[in-house]
Structures are given as C-alpha cells and as structure tokens.
Symmetry: C2
Subunit: 315 residues, 2 copies
C-alpha cells in the first residue's frame, strides 16, 4: 500500500488503464462489412482476446506520471499492443512454435486457417503504423504534440520491434532450438524479445511529454533514464517469471500448457540457474524497480505496485 | 522516342534509377555479424534478388519530375520496395501460394525454411517503417523536408499497404480461390493488390515536394491528381499484363512457371474477357497513361516511355 492508496484502488487503476486500451483497440479495428471482412474478424479475434495489456498500461501510467494528455498516449500505446499481438499470432504458427492454445482459446491459425493468420499478423503490424501516423498527424494538427515527436516515437518503436529488437530475439530463439545456449545469449534474447517492447512505453510517454512540452527538459531527461531502467528490470523479470510459471504454474490459470520448455529441451533461466536462484533474481530485480518507481514519490505509486503485482502474478 | 531522347537513353535512365534503389537497399540492410545474422541473410536474399524495382523507379522518376532532391525520395522509395518484397515472401509461403520459384531462384522459405521466411517478411515490413522514420527524422533535422510530410508519407503508405489496401487484396484473393468471381471483385482485388502500392510513389514524390517547398502549391496539387490517375492505369495494366503473360509468356524469361492461373482455376481478367479483349484494354490504358505523362511536357518523357515499356514487357 502506497501513499494511502489501497491494493483495491491500484487494481482498479490497472483495470481502468487496460479498459481504456481495449476500448480504443475495439474502435480502431472495427468489424468492417467489405470484401475483406474476414481479416478484421481474425485481427479482432486475437487483439481482443484479453491478455494483460501490460504494454499499453505501462504507456498510459508513464504518460500520466509525466503529465501527458491521455489522448496523446492512447494511439501509440495501442499500436504497441497491436505489434505485440501480431508477434503472438506469428509465433503460434505451425512453422514457428506450433501452439494450438493461447489465453485458453484456439490460436488464430486454428480458428481462421494458416494463410489468414499470416495475413492477420501482417495486417496488425501494418495497422500499428497506420494508427501511429494517422493519429499522430491528427494530434499534430490539433497542436497536442509536435510532428517531430510523432516521427521519433515511430522510429523508436519500429527499431525495438524489428530485426535488432523483438524479431531479432525471435531469430536467436529459433536458431537456439534443441541447442544448449549460455546465459549471455539467453539474456540477449530476453532483452530483445520482451525488454525491447517494454522499453517502448517509456519512449511513447517521454516523446509525448517532449512534444506536448509538459514539464522541463531536464526532468524529462532524468525521468527517461529512470523509466528505461525500470522497464529493463520488469521486462527481464517478466521473462524469468514466465520460465518459472512454465515449471510450477497452473495451466488452467495460464490458459496454456505448462512444461513446454522442458518438453522442447529449451534453455531457460530456470535450466541455467535453477528455480530458487531464479526466484531470488526476480525478487532483487523487483526491489530495484520498486526503488526506481519510489523515486517519483506519490506519482510513482502505481508503477511501484505494478512491479510487485507482476512478481506475484500466477498467470 | 520523346523529346529527342532515344530508347537507349530511356533504358539507361531506368537502369540508373533501379541501381540507385539497389545501392540504397544494399546499404540499409547490411550483412550483420550478430547473433541474429541469419535474418539479414534471408532479408537480403529476397530483397536483392533483382526484380523490376518498378515502385522505387516510379518514386524517383516522379520526384525528379517535381524537382525534389533525390536524397529525400530514396529512403521512402526503398521502404516501398521492402514492403513489396515482404509481401512476395509471405505470398510464396506453403500456406499461401506455395511457390517454390521466384525470379528464377528458390523462394525464401525453400532457401531458409518457413519460420525464417515468416520472420524475414515481418522484419522487412518493420524495416520499411524503421527506414522511413529514422531517415525522415534525419531529413527533417537537416531541413530537407518537414516532419509533418514525413508523417503524411508514412500514413499514406501504411494505409495503401494495409488491410484496406494490399493486404485486403490478398485476403479477397485468398477467399476467391476455387470460386468464380465477377469483374467487380476482381477489379477491387487488383486495385488493392497492385494499384495500392503503385499509388505510393505519387504520395512519396508529392509529399516530398510539399515538404521541401519546391514548386507552388497549386501545381503540386494538379500534378498529384494527374500522377495518381497515371499510377492507377499502369497498376491495373500491370496486373492484366501479368494475367496475359501467365497464358502466353515464356517461363524462362519470367523466372516462374506459366499456366498457374489456369491450373488453379483462378479467375483473372483473361478468363473474364479473353486474351484479345485484355490486350485491347491494356493498349487503351497505356494510351491514357502516355497522354497524362505527355501533359508534363519534356519532364514527363520518362513516364511516357515507361508506360509503353511496361505494356511491351515479356517478363
């Protein structure tokens, strides 16, 4: 409990941020009645399938921390969720991880066929950039943020989700299959795969703050450094937690089978360090993230709580 | 022959534009020595496999027609080629068209495996936006074009390549398989699939002209209208020509098998109108495109020639 705000209040805040993102996603990928309507169904099937919405939640929370208007953050926060969703659809494909179940439901290719799932993934990645540019233009025309900062956000996000970021992590993952990999490669992969996309909320919030000229330049620079470290920590912790849950999680809660890493002979943090050491690392990383969030005082209360919440999650 | 420029001079100009694009593509997707180097190999394999480079050539030629600095056009022109290439890689996948041969070489998934081909396609689409935003930012910082026009280009291109554009066309194509479709749906599909991406060069050239403030606003507006119609015509003509070549083309020159539309029972303009009527349509559309290019006087000479060149191509 921080700053007089209860656990319940924090959970409500998490739900509010997530719902704001959901509403926006629902609006920007509508069910269209046109010759290509199937792709909208497939996109919505995966995009609106629940999920923790951790990326848009972080962007919205960090935007609020910096005093940025929510309207400025939302399109970028939701673009990020679309990029995340496309990567899940493509990861689940038979040629990739060949997963039939995601969030307790048949995966996109099981539901709509492989060809449509490939296209739905492509369309979501593409749509992320459609939304950022079209909405960015609108925000710039209304004088809410500057065009230059819109371009900067697109530049940062595309880099973090590309061949030097998330996709790069996928490639290393793919090529490590059946091989024993060392800690260094594994950390690189984790940093690329999750860390990359979890840093994006920081750039979204910070560039919106710069583009909207809220707060002074120095304090935005300092906030950027602190929030990037926070994201790095919770990003890595998130992956390690996934490794731990794959060993001792509840498949019903997780909405997918557990024990898959072991079955596939996959090197994870658990195979390298063992489960106890992993829990210790998780706890240390969370402590540091909590300290960083705490440095923002009351305004950091939600991010402090979120780091602990992610540590304790069982799904 | 136009304005005293010979066929040879025009062919050289075509080669020069294409080479400028190739050199830029070679530079922005370098062979990297890092843990994810395989994806760069796969991206380069498909990206630097030749091809007509019609999209970047059009963007460069239209940019020159409008007096835009070539440095401003190149990043966007090449991003467009990356989008085109990603769509070919994904189209060729076993779950989609299942093609083994492209431009006389094994397709990306035959060479690198299906998983890597999916990721290479994703990475090229993503990279297109990385290049447009990062280079757009650089151009804006150097005062070559304004950030606002960078955002506009990204907005136009992403829309044309997305679920309402190229991907939408793919979806309709996919769902029409084995069915007899009418002329209207076929025209819609063709407009989405090729027309969409062929309109992008116009937006690139025109927004660069606006962003660089070359020429007066009215003449840019008029040029935009004329060039969009020109693109629409050669885009549709391009697709009809492909249909004709699939019937009477030379598979060695084409670098792929012919007769595939017939084998797959695919509705094409040839099955709807017959080959003679298609050739007539091609000729009429080319005539109109030539007239439009001619309205630009000497500056339109290359676009006039190009429309005829595309009509007469046998590959």
């Amino acid at each position: 409990m921080y700053s007089g705000m209860s656990e319940t209040a924090m959970k409500s805040l998490l739900a509010i941020y997530a719902e704001e993102a959901e509403r926006y996603l629902d609006k920007i990928v509508p069910e269209e009645e046109n010759p290509q309507s199937t792709i909208y169904k497939a996109m919505r099937y995966s995009l609106l399938a629940g999920g923790k919405r951790i990326r848009p939640v972080l962007a919205l929370a960090m935007g609020e921390l910096l005093g940025v208007p929510k309207d400025a953050v939302l399109p970028f926060a939701c673009a990020l969720e679309m990029i995340h969703t496309y990567s899940l659809i493509h990861d689940d494909l038979p040629a990739m991880d060949n997963d039939d179940l995601r969030r307790g439901r048949p995966t996109c290719h099981v539901q709509y066929g492989e060809a449509m799932a490939i296209l739905a993934g492509d369309a979501l990645l593409n749509k992320a950039f459609e939304v950022m540019s079209a909405e960015g233009l609108r925000l710039a025309e209304q004088g809410i943020i500057k065009s230059e900062n819109v371009v900067r956000i697109i530049a940062e996000l595309s880099k973090l989700s590309g061949s030097e970021g998330m996709i790069g992590g996928q490639v290393v993952d793919l090529e490590s299959e059946g091989k024993s990999v060392g800690e260094e490669i594994l950390r690189h992969t984790y940093a690329c795969k999750t860390g990359a996309l979890l840093k994006s909320p920081v750039y979204i919030a910070v560039e919106c703050a710069r583009g909207a000229a809220v707060g002074d330049a120095d304090s935005i620079d300092n906030a950027e450094k602190a929030l990037l470290r926070y994201s790095e920590l919770i990003g890595l912790a998130f992956q390690i937690k996934d490794d731990v849950l794959d060993v001792e999680g509840d498949s019903a809660l997780l909405g997918k089978e557990t024990g898959s890493d072991d079955k596939e002979n996959k090197t994870t943090m658990v195979t390298i360090f063992g489960i106890e050491k992993c829990k210790e690392m998780l706890s240390e990383m969370t402590d540091e993230a909590v300290r960083i969030a705490g440095s923002f005082g009351d305004k950091g209360a939600f991010l402090r709580w979120l780091a602990l919440f992610l540590l304790e999650r069982n799904y």
